[in-house]
């Protein structure tokens, strides 16, 4: 039944002669919400950026729907990139364009829809993330949390098979954050969208994650993998237990 949509194979990653990750191997299955966890500086964002082909790998392969993004060039690479949508930590919206134009941009470039149809589609994406009233605003006219949500709407513009989200709920209030979690679950279940998410928010992890991997900088790789609740309850690794329990203790006063 497992149907890996992404396969990371013996990936070694780093820059400036420094190795961040060594020999990392894992699969992401189609339609699952896959969360990458770990303390600060363990290489979560680095791993994400390698998976979307933004950084050159030192060694190893990243297969997206069977195609290696590491070696791909030109059209082959574009074809892979069309399957994915990415939301960056800071939002990375284009400051000179309204939210509607931001979301519409990939549609203008890669579909043959009419302007009116693209506008409707872009409005729907924005209303999905609760920004239906702000389509005409510029990014600097809305709050940071709203920028983040608009960035998710832009990442979804072409309905990609895989969405990569870098810290989606950081900077969002609990209600918006919960709504975002619900949206992620809905898209994963109804549209078979696969999510790869980097986050620390434990509440959010329990709500959305089908499977997590946990990175650690001491081993430069994965120290735990599996269902987050199982890891919390059954892991023997002290660091993993600490990660889940410290927060869990705080969240539920004993």
């Amino acid at each position: 039944m497992p149907d890996p949509i992404i396969r990371v194979e013996r990936l070694t990653a780093g820059y400036d002669g420094r190795t961040i990750l060594e020999n990392v191997t894992f699969d992401v299955n189609r339609g699952e919400v896959f969360v990458i966890l770990g303390g600060s500086g363990c290489g979560k964002s680095t791993l994400l950026k390698h998976m979307i082909g933004l950084y050159d790998v030192v060694a190893g392969h990243v297969y997206i729907e069977g195609h290696d993004i590491v070696d791909a060039e030109g059209e082959a690479r574009d074809a892979i990139l069309h399957k994915i949508g990415v939301m960056y930590q800071s939002g990375a919206l284009f400051g000179s364009m309204t939210l509607l134009e931001n979301v519409r941009l990939p549609m203008e470039a890669f579909t043959s829809l009419d302007m009116e149809q693209m506008n409707l589609l872009a409005r729907m994406k924005l209303s999905l993330v609760g920004l239906g009233q702000f389509t005409g605003h510029l990014p600097n006219e809305i709050s940071g949390g709203m920028q983040k949500r608009a960035a998710i709407a832009r990442a979804m513009a072409l309905d990609p098979a895989i969405l990569f989200l870098d810290e989606p709920s950081a900077g969002l209030d609990p209600i918006t954050s919960a709504e975002l979690d619900a949206l992620i679950r809905r898209l994963a279940e109804n549209l078979d969208v696969t999510f790869v998410i980097v986050t620390h928010e434990l509440a959010s992890i329990y709500a959305i994650a089908d499977r997590v991997i946990m990175l650690d900088k001491r081993v430069k790789g994965i120290i735990a993998e599996g269902d987050p609740r199982r890891l919390r309850d059954a892991s023997t690794d002290p660091y993993v237990r600490q990660f889940f329990h410290r927060e869990a203790d705080l969240a539920t006063p004993a």
Binding site: M107, L113, L121, R123, H137, E189
Partner: protein, 372 residues
Amino acid sequence: METAALAVSDAPDGRLILALSGRLVAETIPIVWRDALHAVRGAVSRPVTVDAAGVDYCDGAGIALLVDLLREPRQAPIEVANLAPAYRALLAQFDARNLGEALNLEPTRRPAIEEIGRTASIVWRDLRTQIEFLGQATAALLAAIRHPSTIRWRDVGVVCERVGADALPIVALISFLLGVILAFQSAVPMKRYGAEIFVADLIGIGMVRELGALITAILLAGRTGAAFAAEIGTMRVNQEIDALTTMGLDPVRFLVTTRVIAAVLMTPLLTLFAMLVGTLGGAFTMLSYGVPFVTFVKEVDGIVNFGDFVAGWVKSFVFALAIAGIGCLRGLQTAAGASAVGDSATRAVVSGLVLIVIIDGVFAVVYFFLDI
């Protein structure tokens, strides 16, 4: 099946049936979308059923197609039937009727008169800000001079290198070229009267009194003014300026003072250099007109007096103050966004050049009345 299809038929009870089938994604639906919309618009008073039984897959674009059909203003009802439950859940997220109007937020265009008035008031306010800033910068500078230990001399040194030493090649190039061109262009008509030697007077006076300071100032506005604005502007965008303010450090004292001091120290030196190289450029050209180097230098020495030199040199201090100041001001005024830094740099250069013209004009009038 990798395409989408639409079949329009009439049901026995008078309903219009739009049967959608295949894969409804952005790549496949543009034509289906147009046809379906056309069919729905042509049957405003007939009930319509959109039959989605044949839909294999449907993403956000497919849902948008359904929403677009549902929101069409019409008299008879329209419904979507046989849509798979997963897609129905997606469709249910959108209120088709509200999507059209509530979100139609287009920026309003103002009438021309209002636009002119608004711009005029912006220019007026900007002028006041500049004067205010000049006062602020002067106060900071005076405070710094009174307490030299509060100046961050390391920073001043770094900025000095960038403003001064790094600018030497371009200042040399442009002022040499200016000397050469000036000499060449004036030597042609002068030769008719056998007065080539007076080209030396022209170059000497021109370079020392006016052009040395002017060309240095223009280069300073283009190089340093823009750089200051971009640096400080980027700091503004990254909230570094806010961080300074909340730490209790005045950004004007912290950032502007060092830069202004460095510019005021370096620009007069660059100006001296420009005067010298420009005159040399003239001498170089005149060699080809048979005026020996020594003769040229003697002629210049005879005509240019110390007053001319002071008149030209003093200007360079004022130019430096104005250009560095305006560069920093434009940087501090930077709005948010990537294009804002570019705007600030542009505005720094333009304001710098305008200031150069104004200051030079004021000096000309003052020198005229003082008879210097």
